[in-house]
């Protein structure tokens, strides 16, 4: 008899989701689906709001990565203003964006994923979290706390507060960098670099223990899309989009933000509020692609930061072409944390970093603007249309996690087929299926543009669609 297994809730991710695993008559996994059960509605309720409110409004999409939305929104508004913002403002925005990447990646790795790596995929759920880590691996827990706290403190000191700061505005930023804040960051960065290098060395020594997970955690050929600079450097704030295939061959390059609709389309899934973007030239679903840390390292040629360059060189040895296993998102995140520290240090030592000229002032000069940046989870895009009075008439938010929807679905199916065996549903098997999702570090609150603490369900459905069994891990 066919059965369906559902995982509910998917633990240790941002937001809430459901996984349904469909078994055939032989008890083997036939398919698996990832459902996002939140609905947000930002694209609709932003209509008729002044474009100047969009950074503040869209930042409320998320409490983990609001800075990403500030960046994309402000850049879209810069286009509406038709201004080139001051160089110092660009650098300050870059620093803030990198600080968020540091704190978000630290959250993802240390709080959400390291319990699996340190305590074991088969450990009971109550032992796989940061609190249990504090008992068993206090140094790792302290490292995670220090890194996340530092990233958040940068945001607070530069932008006024850790969550939903209002400092990034159309035309630039609202105030220059204070010398004491710059000096504080420069004092603390060496400690951050020491910590992340220690963690990277540890990780490189242990990830080989997860050879089975590396092989079966969303390990398949796909395209990768990320921003790169015009000199092929790793980028998080500006640049153009590059698309590479599984061999790291460039499929498309130099895609400007305003051209995204020429290359990307979205498919509405019938069983999820999360849409599935795909690369138009290859159609749906063959145009599957991935974004985020793994994609950024696959797309860029160089980093421009010395310690990161060494790590990137080692990372590339994982594969002759693109690194395909989504398990290596963890590795890529750690490298990006290191890059964040090095790049922030470089920017802070720029001669004009304390300049008071941080904002260009203008009124709306264009009826449309597209802003693109790299959020911790991948490429983020805000597209607005405004009327003559600057009121938003239409908005499209294409979120990083949404880009990865097809890949997450395929990854779950792959992992489920390997780890879930009919009537022998073990905790470790279910956790591994969840862990595939955690590799992508999805921000589901962002990507469905729900309130409340929705449980994530695990359902077992037979070949005729009847519910046979149900499990839930509500906390």
């Amino acid at each position: 008899m066919s059965r369906t297994i559902s995982i509910d809730p998917v633990t240790r991710i941002e937001g809430h989701a459901k996984i349904t695993i469909y078994l055939n008559d032989e008890g083997e996994v036939r398919d698996a689906r990832f459902h996002v059960t939140q609905y947000r509605g930002f694209e609709k309720f932003c209509e008729n709001r002044p474009y100047t409110e969009m950074p503040a409004l869209t930042a409320r999409t998320c409490g983990i990565c609001p800075v990403s939305h500030l960046m994309a929104a402000a850049k879209a508004c810069d286009e509406i203003l038709a201004v080139r913002i001051p160089d110092t403002a660009i650098k300050l925005r870059r620093i803030l964006n990198l600080a968020q990447i540091i704190q978000s990646h630290a959250l993802s790795f240390f709080h959400l994923s390291s319990p699996d790596l340190l305590l074991g995929m088969d450990a009971p759920p109550e032992q796989r979290n940061i609190l249990a880590l504090a008992s068993s691996h206090p140094e790792m827990a302290r490292d995670g706390i220090w890194l996340r706290k530092f990233g958040q403190q940068i945001i607070e000191k530069m932008a006024g507060k850790r969550v939903h700061p209002a400092w990034v505005v159309p035309g630039g930023v609202s105030s220059p960098l204070a010398p004491e804040v710059r000096d504080w960051m420069l004092r603390e960065i060496p400690e951050g670099i020491r910590i992340i290098r220690r963690v990277l060395d540890w990780y490189k020594g242990v990830y080989g223990q997860f050879a089975d997970e590396i092989e079966h955690f969303a390990n398949f050929p796909s395209l990768f899309i990320a921003l790169v600079s015009d000199s092929d450097y790793l980028e998080h704030y500006d640049g153009t989009l590059r698309v590479v295939d599984e061999r790291r061959r460039v499929v498309a390059d130099g895609i400007k933000p305003a051209e995204y609709l020429d290359y990307l389309a979205e498919y509405v899934e019938p069983d999820s509020y999360l849409k599935s973007p795909y690369f138009k030239m290859m159609g749906y679903p063959e145009g599957i692609y991935r974004v985020g840390p793994l994609a950024r390292l696959n797309c860029a040629e160089r980093s421009g930061a010395p310690l990161t360059s060494v790590e990137l060189f080692t990372f590339r040895k994982l594969s002759k072409g693109a690194v395909l296993s989504s398990f290596h998102y963890h590795y890529a995140r750690l490298i990006e944390i290191l890059f964040g520290f090095e790049r922030i240090e470089q920017l802070l030592n720029e001669p004009d970093i304390l300049s008071p000229d941080v904002r260009a002032h203008a009124g709306p000069n264009r009826g449309e603007g597209v802003g693109m940046s790299e959020a911790p989870r991948g490429m983020l895009l805000h597209h607005y249309k405004v009327d003559r009075n600057g009121l938003v008439t239409w908005a499209n938010l294409v979120i990083a996690t949404g880009h990865n929807n097809l890949a997450m679905n395929r990854g779950i199916a792959q992992a489920a087929k390997h780890y879930v065996k009919g009537d022998k549903i073990k905790e470790g098997a279910l956790n591994r299926v969840e862990a595939v999702i955690r590799c992508y570090d999805p921000c589901l609150s962002c990507s469905t543009h729900a309130f409340g603490d929705m449980p994530l369900q695990l359902q077992l459905i037979d070949s005729k669609g009847a519910l046979l069994d149900e499990q839930s891990r509500i906390h």
């Binding site: 409490g63 959400l112 249990a132 706290k149 400690e191």
Partner: protein, 155 residues
């Protein structure tokens, strides 16, 4: 000061007051509102912080103080303000946000701190969208302020 040194060289200060809650969800903002009141009193030896919610990284802040007072709204139908000791969390099931007990436990396990912690809860009537506190919660704030003053005056 590096991460390891911070564990050894920290000298616990006196009192930390953490008021947490969402300031745009009505009475859920009573914790931050009380913290702002504490800041205006300029009590010696008292540090006040606000937060939307408690995060694991606050464990380091907790470890830096001899005494910590968490201030939060309570959605339970309590008839009065309550002040009671916080025990270390035994249940480790959590994600990326914390309760006072888990912060207390991490402060000890990660930083060797023996911080004494209490929780002050204020009855909340309405947590709908908005920045205003309900009349009932405002009524209880005076009692909460009295308890805060008594707590912060102790050593």
């Amino acid at each position: 000061m590096n991460n390891q040194e911070s564990t050894e060289k920290q000298v616990p200060r006196t009192t930390l007051v953490i008021g947490y809650g969402n300031t745009v969800r009505g009475d859920d903002g009573v914790g931050p509102a009380l913290v702002h009141w504490v800041e205006q009193q300029h009590w010696a030896g008292v540090t006040a912080q606000t937060a939307q919610q408690l995060f694991p990284e606050m464990a380091q802040d907790v470890a830096n103080y001899k005494r910590v007072l968490f201030v939060d709204a309570s959605a339970e139908p309590l008839p009065k303000v309550r002040l009671y000791p916080v025990l270390e969390a035994s249940n480790t099931l959590m994600a990326h946000r914390c309760c006072p007990g888990s912060l207390l436990r991490m402060a000890r396990e990660l930083y060797g701190a023996q911080t004494e912690a209490h929780l002050l809860t204020i009855p909340a009537d309405c947590m709908e969208a908005g920045t205003a506190l309900s009349a009932r919660t405002r009524f209880f704030m005076e009692e909460a302020q009295t308890l805060l003053a008594q707590f912060c005056a102790q050593e």
